[in-house]
């Protein structure tokens, strides 16, 4: 090739792989997006209403719950992977679901991984509505339900930003999908696990190609995030 430098060669090959829509690259990318988007969707479905409940209801230990959620933002992905592996394996309570080493299992794992993040960010998005705004809503004669609807709609962009961050964490993590999915070619291999494997096999061009795609997804999320936050 050009000068025999494997990095430069790998980079050029990587561009070729992307431009020519190499079937393996496309397949891995689509699976990655599918798993993480689905996980984000389910996580949002669960975390947003619960986050809102935590914000709107005063209960004992509320502060502790919020602190716990914030601690769980940094939950190590391999720990989630390990716990979910044990749950979903034949020796675990959910072994009968036969989800281990399937995209379904990966979706469940990523969902659980980002639920605390989405919940915590929902609480802080709603808390971002300042006191005077809440007073204004009350003073305008809103009922309890009308108050909740107004505050959520006012915080919609901040909540959306939280969901995007959750998606970013899901698609970029490697530890739990590796353990639960098993990185099986054509079945559970996603961008991050494929990069890990191909790099260790010195298959740099494929790793770089997938890396570029992963970065583009992250970039896309960030652009979306800044568009949302500018509102």
């Amino acid at each position: 090739m050009v000068n025999g430098n494997p990095i430069i060669e790998g980079f050029i090959e990587a561009i070729e792989l992307i431009v020519t829509l190499d079937p393996q690259v496309v397949e891995i990318t689509i699976r990655s997006l599918y798993v993480s988007l689905t996980a984000t969707f389910f996580a949002a479905l669960i975390a947003l209403p619960i986050g809102a409940l935590i914000y709107f209801y005063d209960f004992r230990g509320k502060h502790g719950v919020v602190s716990l959620l914030q601690t769980l933002y940094a939950l190590p992905t391999v720990i989630v992977g390990l716990v979910m592996f044990l749950m979903l394996s034949n020796i675990g309570p959910f072994g009968f679901l036969r989800l281990l080493y399937t995209p379904g299992g990966m979706i469940v794992t990523q969902t659980i991984l980002i639920i605390p993040l989405l919940m915590g960010l929902t609480v802080s998005a709603l808390s971002g509505i300042d006191r005077d705004k809440r007073y204004t809503i009350t003073a305008l004669g809103a009922s309890r339900l009308q108050t909740v609807v107004t505050i959520i709609s006012e915080a919609r962009f901040a909540v959306m930003a939280g969901v995007l961050l959750g998606f970013g964490r899901a698609i970029a993590e490697v530890g739990s999908v590796m353990i639960v999915g098993g990185n099986i070619r054509g079945a559970t291999r996603v961008l991050t696990t494929a990069i890990t494997l191909n790099t260790s096999m010195a298959n740099y061009s494929l790793s770089i190609a997938l890396g570029i795609i992963l970065l583009s997804v992250a970039l896309g999320v960030n652009i979306a995030l800044s568009l949302v936050q500018r509102r």
């Binding site: 705004k133 007073y135 809503i137 009350t138 003073a139 305008l140 004669g141 009308q146 006012e154």
Partner: protein
């Protein structure tokens, strides 16, 4: 008839006591200004009276309904009132949707909302922004959006929490004008909190002075300004001279108060023997030579010790046993040729020497 009746209101946030022993009665169609320094509890009191926050203790009735007992009716009562806050509050939606909020909460029909929102925006001169995002407007415009959002619901009682503290003079004038007109034409009851004494005097039929979480004095603004009940109120309403003295004798209707060897006559019945004389700077007149036909009870020579210009006025400190600060117009100060060390004559009407009990 009193539209708001509050007795013994107490409100605390954790260990912070925001309001205590507040007694207040507001008549229908009245404009009442709550004046007081920042942190004296004005905003908290307005929120309690507007039923946004419950008091911890005390009796409160609004529109003749006891709100402590009938908590189920709070929303209905709130919907007959409106409040404008100090900071312009707008929601992240169009100006139209912002103004429509209160009407939507009340379940008004779309045609009704459309008509009233357009009228309301017309009234505050913001029709051209009807489709704009409210957060894109300037502070003064946002405050006008907030005002029309309140007025569109036709409140019977309007609460204004320092509504013009952050606004330019033009926006302030617009808002004051609207408030006065609504009071006069629609008989709207208005409670306004302000730290701007002049605004209180300009707008209100009656003022209440709040000091450290309670209403220390209420009455027509002239009374509060001329006859503050204690030292803190006197300081807040801008009495420059608070001179400790002792009532030594009576001379007809007048009390003779001795302060640092100087005798000053006061037409105010002394509340105690140990008093403080509260004399407003503008009630002290300075003359170059002894006035011939001055109908004033207190007349004595003094020495100018300081001349300090403040916008259209000049603060002149004179020494005559005790120090007194006189407020003189800049033009008069020039005519008199006031300068430090100058000998002048001081005259004070006995009526202008207000007496308050001396605090230990």
């Amino acid at each position: 008839m009193a539209i708001i009746e509050a007795h013994g209101i107490r409100k605390s946030y954790g260990s912070l006591l925001a309001l205590h022993d507040v007694d207040l009665s507001v008549g229908e169609g009245e404009i009442l200004a709550l004046i007081g320094p920042s942190g004296s509890g004005k905003s908290t009191l307005l929120r309690v009276l507007d039923l946004i926050e419950p008091a911890n203790e005390g009796a409160l009735s609004v529109f003749g309904i006891n709100v402590v007992e009938e908590r189920g009716r709070l929303i209905d009562l709130r919907r007959r009132m409106g409040m404008l806050f100090q900071r312009p509050i707008v929601f992240n939606s169009s100006v139209y949707d912002n103004v429509a909020m209160g009407l939507r909460y009340r379940g008004a029909s779309n045609e009704d909302i459309d008509r009233r929102v357009k009228e309301a925006l017309e009234a505050v001169g913001l029709s051209r922004y009807i489709k704009s995002r409210a957060t894109d407007l300037s502070g003064g415009e946002q405050q006008r959006v907030a005002l029309s959002r309140v007025l569109v619901t036709d409140p019977e009682i309007l609460f204004l929490d320092e509504p013009t503290a952050n606004l330019d003079p033009t926006s302030t004038a617009t808002i004051e004008e609207i408030v006065v007109r609504l009071n006069r034409e629609a008989g709207m009851t208005v409670l306004i909190s302000t730290h701007d004494l002049a605004q209180g005097q300009r707008l209100a039929h009656r003022v209440g002075v709040m000091i450290e979480g309670t209403i220390a004095q209420t009455g027509p603004s002239q009374d509060v300004f001329r006859a503050p009940k204690d030292r803190r109120i006197a300081q807040f309403v801008g009495v420059q001279n608070i001179v400790p003295g002792r009532v030594v004798s009576r001379r007809g209707d007048l009390a003779v108060v001795e302060a640092k060897g100087k005798q000053i006559l006061s037409a105010i019945p002394p509340p105690a023997d140990e008093v403080e004389m509260a004399i407003r700077g503008e009630d002290i007149s300075l003359h170059r030579r002894e006035p011939g036909h001055e109908e004033t009870e207190n007349l004595f020579p003094a020495t100018v010790t300081a001349v300090e210009p403040t916008a259209p006025f000049v603060n002149v400190t004179v020494h005559c046993g005790c120090d007194l600060v006189a407020l003189v117009t800049a033009r008069r100060a020039e005519t008199l040729g006031l300068r430090e060390g100058m000998e002048v004559w001081v005259s004070i009407l006995a009526k202008a020497v207000h007496l308050i009990p001396r605090e230990k």
